[in-house]
Symmetry: C2
Subunit: 200 residues, 2 copies
């Protein structure tokens, strides 16, 4: 890895951290330059524009997500264990990957109304994650761990809800029991997928 590439990575690391605190939009070249001990122009030479930087920050974070969540997940036994692993790692990711909030959650509310490459990248990342999750759940159905009429997309939707509630409770409300509550919600979700039938 050449000099340029290594500073580039360092910039993106720092930018990810900063963006998790002040948001992707709140990120400024000036503060990022100060944080990386570079001049504004020196830093700027690495990127075509601020918008391009924002997109690259998202891609950078996405690679990390793949490394610490996705890859270990697909390496565990298929079916329910894999679903559990995914959930575990996802929750842990949200608590440990950033000083601030998860930049995907933060950026989602920030850019959901702002058309452009940043929003596009966000949607791409989310769709990717959703597809993987749907597949993982579908496999659990195929393995017979979950009922046949379990809707993987609905499962993914509800799991996302649990994770978002966890993020909300933990970061805004600073609820010490946020993770415990998330686990209870997840257990209920899993439980309903295993049960033979639901009450009328």
């Amino acid at each position: 890895m050449g000099k340029g590439e290594s500073t580039r990575t360092a910039i993106l690391d720092e930018a990810t951290e900063l963006a998790s605190l002040v948001g992707l939009g709140g990120l400024t070249i000036g503060t990022l330059a100060a944080a990386t001990k570079l001049s504004k122009s020196g830093l700027y030479a690495h990127f075509a524009s601020k918008e391009a930087l924002q997109v690259e920050v998202l891609q950078h974070a996405r690679e990390r997500f793949t490394d610490v969540v996705m890859r270990p997940t697909v390496a565990t036994p298929r079916g329910e264990p894999r679903v559990r692993e995914f959930f575990d790692r996802w929750i842990t990711w949200q608590s440990t990957a950033f000083d601030g909030g998860c930049i995907f959650v933060d950026a989602a509310s920030e850019f959901d109304d702002q058309e452009g490459p940043v929003r596009d990248e966000l949607v791409r990342a989310e769709r990717d994650k959703l597809e993987s999750l749907t597949l993982i759940v579908g496999t659990a159905v195929g393995e017979g761990h979950f009922r046949a009429d379990v809707d993987p997309e609905q499962f993914a939707y509800e799991l996302e809800g649990i994770v978002l509630a966890h993020h909300h409770a933990r970061r805004l409300m600073r609820d010490g029991r946020a993770e415990e509550r998330a686990r209870r919600a997840f257990d209920r979700l899993i439980d309903d997928c295993r049960a033979v039938a639901r009450s009328a």
Copy 2:
């Protein structure tokens, strides 16, 4: 209502709308002045600072929430019907109250790491809503509509998750079936509260 007070309200209305599109932090005095057809200084005379404006925007939105969600909810029969009413109105609120995303959701990710009066107001609003919801669920338990071992706080946590998932799916992913999914998730939640016992 005097002249000053009415323009003040008009400013807050417009500010709420704008903030839902670009975030509370993305809101600027200049664009807000242009949107309200006032000069920057003319507008600014109504508020002590931008931060004070942000806080007032949140309070303004909170009053609207009380009007269109809370008040009609507590006017419906106690127990499960009231819980359903709350959910219905909350979901509708998120879809219709703003052009952009719900400013509480947006602001929550934006300010969860930024100490100050804006964050404080956010926490206050959230705590308020959570308390009301917990009470409403508790009543449903008291009425015998829900099982006695239902944990109202856990219920509130999971309901918030459903609403957040709905917001996420609807605004970022533009999923047309977001609301249908939310309703299914809610029905499952209610169902589990009524069931006599859960499978092992």
